[in-house]
């Protein structure tokens, strides 16, 4: 299933959750039903064993007890979804449909019984509710409700650093360019762009662009926006990215020319910065733009009654036409379970990437659909994603400075079972930082699970393993004591990530590597990683980071190793140094796209053979969409922008 990685521009896959499992109704993928069912069953079995395993490993102490309670909690929530243990795949053919109807009835009865007993238990509560009376539901609402995990830091994309802030800001105030499904910069407010020479970039704006306040958007606004950004007084954290820009000219009302200090190809990726009216471009108007932003995007900022709610309305002057959504309410719901329950209740229409795959079975009740129309109330849509999960290996010193040990770890891991059981197919194996759909992607060999090879590599590096002894491999060189390899793997406290780390621990143990897991609160974790205080850490580059391939330079060039000179902000946290790679990545910023592609291919191959990171997988940002929202086409990056073309279903 995961072997056939669909291209990013391929068909959008349509997922259905049934009986706790996902069936992929792929337009192209011809899974035959039996195979799918068998796989689904195997998957459940694997998952259950893993669950049991997780329980036993986390057992003991307060921590374990809590983990188990949380496990139980989830079990309960899934109650509706996994009550049927039989894999129930699709309802396309008639016999199966009848079967499903019968099951439907059975389940309804079971639920009614369950409800009855629960009702008896909660009689006091029932009385209480009756006391308040008027307990009824309003389903006749208009507009689309989007749930996000945490409130945006700013609605002005010149300042927004959180994913939620950036995605909402893109709806209000887009930039000159945006990215397509292959992460290529494509014109947005611009009609077209071209490099006149490697240091001069010319944009032509679309005709009749208007801001939300009715004023026309001209090249003067574009120039003012970027002049403002490059002015220190504004204090935008993104201003430094514009350092290669020398000056901006507006030779005509719809022509803008960027003059660069030196050839710098990644500049296009920075021109997603929002275009604001010239009256809002400079520091004095920044707070106003932060509170009530104005842009030329598909949605107009309407109100922010409190920290948790943002109301947007469609903008009739948007170049792509007025969006067919009457009102957009963006609501912060911090608790994942609550987000799922709001979806099930029918009070939310869109959640992107904010429900983790293990919770999907809980959506069963919504995805099962209305019995009369057979239209699912909730759909799960996704595109192969670009977010990049990896293991970072500290190559500065210690055992992991030895390439053989890094290779051994790589050969000891097997991501396939994790992708199937934990991600339910919503992630694709990675061979490098760029996803297969990316324009600069090139295939690298990567490493497959090979325990014999891993053991041999460890033995060569001077570590003993039980397996190595059995097979009589040569032991530690003379003069050095036999020792087993003991490593610490740091993760965040996220329950899902911790459960994956447990699998790594198990897999590495099979190769004779002892791994101690340490899950740390996010700030602590981040701080340790920045300061190089780790051996192994597992983390994720968000989909927003893996767009411009210049990210490779930020992450792997030796110029970006965190240190006092960059206030420990450098992104090359594994301390990896390779002079040839540095040169390749530097050169790739100065040349045209075709040549860049060649250089990045070489760079990816170098990184793959040196393994500062062990590539794991690319995660999708699945969109859970209610039937009230139609024509929503998710993007690999998990943008909200497709809302501009989506349609609100008639009530």
């Amino acid at each position: 299933m995961a072997g056939a990685v669909p291209r990013a521009d391929g068909p959008v896959f349509f997922l259905r959750v049934r009986g706790g499992r996902i069936r992929r109704r792929a337009d192209g993928g011809a899974d035959d039903a039996r195979g799918c069912r068998a796989e689904a069953e195997a998957q459940t079995a694997r998952q259950e064993s893993r669950r049991a395993q997780a329980g036993s490993e986390e057992g003991g102490g307060e921590e374990g007890a809590r983990a188990r309670r949380e496990e139980e909690e989830r079990e309960e929530i899934e109650e509706g979804g996994v009550s049927s243990k039989r894999a129930q795949v699709g309802a396309e053919s008639n016999p199966e449909r009848e079967e499903s109807l019968i099951e439907e009835k059975e389940r309804a009865t079971r639920q009614a019984l369950k409800l009855f007993s629960a009702g008896r238990r909660g009689i006091a509560l029932l009385t209480f509710c009756a006391f308040f009376a008027g307990c009824h539901s309003e389903h006749n609402r208009t507009g689309i409700v989007v749930l996000i995990e945490s409130p945006p830091d700013s609605l002005d994309n010149r300042f927004a650093l959180t994913a939620s802030g950036q995605r909402i800001a893109e709806l209000i105030s887009p930039g000159l360019v945006t990215f397509d499904a292959k992460s290529r910069p494509v014109p947005d407010l611009a009609l077209d762009y071209q490099f006149l020479d490697p240091q001069t970039l010319e944009f032509t704006l679309r005709d009749h662009l208007t801001f939300h306040d009715g004023t026309p958007l001209t090249s003067d606004d574009v120039k003012a926006t970027f002049d403002g950004l490059m002015d220190r007084a504004l204090g935008s954290p993104k201003a430094d990215k514009l350092e290669p820009v020398d000056r901006i000219e507006a030779p005509g009302p719809s022509r803008v020319v960027f003059h660069l200090k030196r050839p710098y190809a990644p500049i296009l990726a920075e021109l997603v910065l929002p275009i604001v009216p010239r009256s809002r471009a400079f520091a004095a108007a920044a707070p106003a733009q932060d509170r009530a932003p104005i842009g030329a995007g598909p949605f107009r900022f309407s109100a922010q009654p409190d920290e948790e709610h943002i109301v947007l309305t469609p903008f009739e002057g948007y170049y792509g036409g007025k969006p067919r959504i009457r009102r957009l309410l963006i609501r912060t719901v911090r608790d994942e379970t609550t987000r799922v329950l709001e979806l099930l209740k029918g009070r939310a229409d869109l959640v992107i990437g904010a429900v983790s795959p293990p919770i999907f079975p809980a959506l069963h009740a919504g995805v099962r659909g209305d019995l009369r129309t057979d239209e699912p109330r909730l759909r799960i849509l996704w595109e192969p994603g670009s977010a990049y999960a990896y293991l970072g290996l500290n190559s500065r010193s210690g055992p992991l400075s030895d390439l053989r040990v890094r290779r051994a770890i790589c050969h000891a891991l097997d991501v396939q079972p994790i992708l199937k059981a934990k991600f339910r197919g919503l992630a694709q194996p990675a061979t490098g930082m760029l996803p297969p759909g990316h324009w600069a992607y090139s295939e690298t060999p990567g490493c497959r699970r090979d325990l014999a090879l891993a053991t041999q590599l460890l033995a060569e590096a001077g570590y003993s393993t039980a397996r190595g002894e059995r097979e009589g491999l040569k032991e530690a060189p003379p003069g050095r004591a036999k020792r087993t390899l003991h490593l610490t793997l740091k993760t965040s406290t996220d329950r899902f990530r911790k459960s994956i780390a447990l699998v790594f621990q198990e897999q590495l143990a099979e190769a004779g590597i002892e791994v101690e897991l340490r899950s740390l609160e996010y700030g602590t974790f981040f701080n340790d990683v920045r300061k190089g205080n780790f051996e192994l850490f597992s983390a994720l580059w968000s989909s927003g980071s893996v767009i411009e391939p210049d990210i490779l330079r930020w992450v792997f060039s030796s110029a970006n190793i965190p240190g006092p000179e960059n206030a420990f902000a450098g992104l090359n946290r594994t301390g990896y140094r390779n002079r040839r790679l540095d040169e390749l990545l530097d050169r790739a910023t100065r040349v045209g796209q075709d040549e860049r592609k060649v250089l990045y291919a070489q760079a990816l191959a170098l990184i793959d053979s040196d393994l500062p990171y062990i590539p794991l997988w690319h995660e999708s940002s699945p969109a859970i969409v209610s039937s009230r929202l139609q024509d929503f086409e998710p993007s690999p990056q998990g943008y909200l922008r497709p809302l501009a073309r989506a349609r609100e279903a008639a009530p």
Partner: protein, 302 residues
């Protein structure tokens, strides 16, 4: 009066402790804000702009000064939003939730406790105390979603989360009040058993008063003092529990604000929320004393 003198001490203590802890936690507002997005930004300049270059006591002093002038701002550059409006918006929600939870607790606990005490050793007693144990044992992060599933999804009577209508208050207050109800009903039972043993209860029975008059007028009023004490003390626990409950029900209160503050390492916001929690705790303790005097003439005479 002596109690009131202790209040400033409690406030100062909590502020100092919180500032110390914030200082110990790795990561600071600037680091958490920038994350991985802006590797080349001048972090030191940003830190200076919000006073993070000072030692913890310097930052605390800055906080007190800003608070005194009513111009308290967040520790997050560059906009440093005002904190007081956020607190004014959140505080009523949290107070509403805690008092509703208390009401739920009292409505459940007192009849349950009195019933258990007056029928000591019977099935009623055992059942009531069984419910009490269950109530204490249920964690809020579990009970909350369970109540939502039952009342909001299956029965479709109530909203899932948010604070748009009065009906939104029901599930969170039940979730928050259950543990207190359980605890309170045990206290009520114990206290009632004590008073029921008193001679004046026997006397009033001998006078020929109806059993319910004896129970509620004579015994229960005398059993009230320990119940009020517990209610006062448990208020702090309710505020703490409100953090979890508010998260589950997306209730826009102080708990939500505190979580946001901690996530973003917004030092000033965390300090301000803790300050408000301390103040309300002190206020409730004062209120408990007042209620004492109203309920018990002996306290009034002292």
């Amino acid at each position: 009066m002596r109690r009131l003198a202790g209040a400033p001490l409690a406030i100062a203590g909590s502020l100092i402790l919180v500032s110390l802890f914030l200082n110990l936690v790795p990561g600071d507002p600037v680091e958490m804000m920038l994350g991985e997005q802006a590797p080349s930004v001048d972090r030191e300049a940003l830190r200076r702009s919000v006073g993070l270059d000072r030692p913890w006591y310097g930052q605390l002093w800055l906080f007190i000064r800003e608070l005194a002038t009513g111009n308290l701002r967040s520790s997050l550059p560059p906009f440093q939003r005002k904190i007081l409006p956020q607190i004014w918006a959140a505080l009523p929600n949290t107070l509403l939730l805690t008092f509703a939870a208390m009401a739920v607790a009292i409505l459940i606990a007192i009849p349950l406790g009195v019933a258990a005490a007056s029928r000591k050793g019977t099935a009623v007693d055992h059942a009531a105390m069984g419910i009490a144990v269950a109530g204490v044992a249920l964690p809020r992060f579990w009970l909350g979603p369970m109540l939502i599933i039952l009342f909001a999804i299956k029965l479709d009577w109530l909203p899932v989360s948010g604070a748009d209508s009065p009906r939104n208050l029901i599930l969170p207050s039940v979730t928050l009040g259950t543990a207190l109800a359980a605890f309170l009903s045990r206290i009520t039972r114990a206290s009632m058993l004590d008073t029921l043993r008193e001679e004046y209860v026997t006397v009033s029975r001998a006078k020929g008063l109806s059993p319910s008059a004896v129970l509620w007028k004579h015994a229960f009023r005398n059993a009230l003092l320990p119940i009020i004490t517990v209610l006062g003390l448990e208020f702090g626990a309710l505020l703490g529990g409100a953090i979890v409950t508010e998260k589950v029900f997306a209730w826009p209160g102080m708990g939500t604000l505190l979580l946001t503050g901690i996530e973003k390492r917004d030092y000033n916001l965390v300090r301000a929320v803790v300050l408000v929690f301390t103040l309300s705790y002190v206020a409730i303790n004062g209120l408990t004393d007042l209620v004492y005097t109203a309920v018990d003439p002996r306290v009034r005479r002292q």
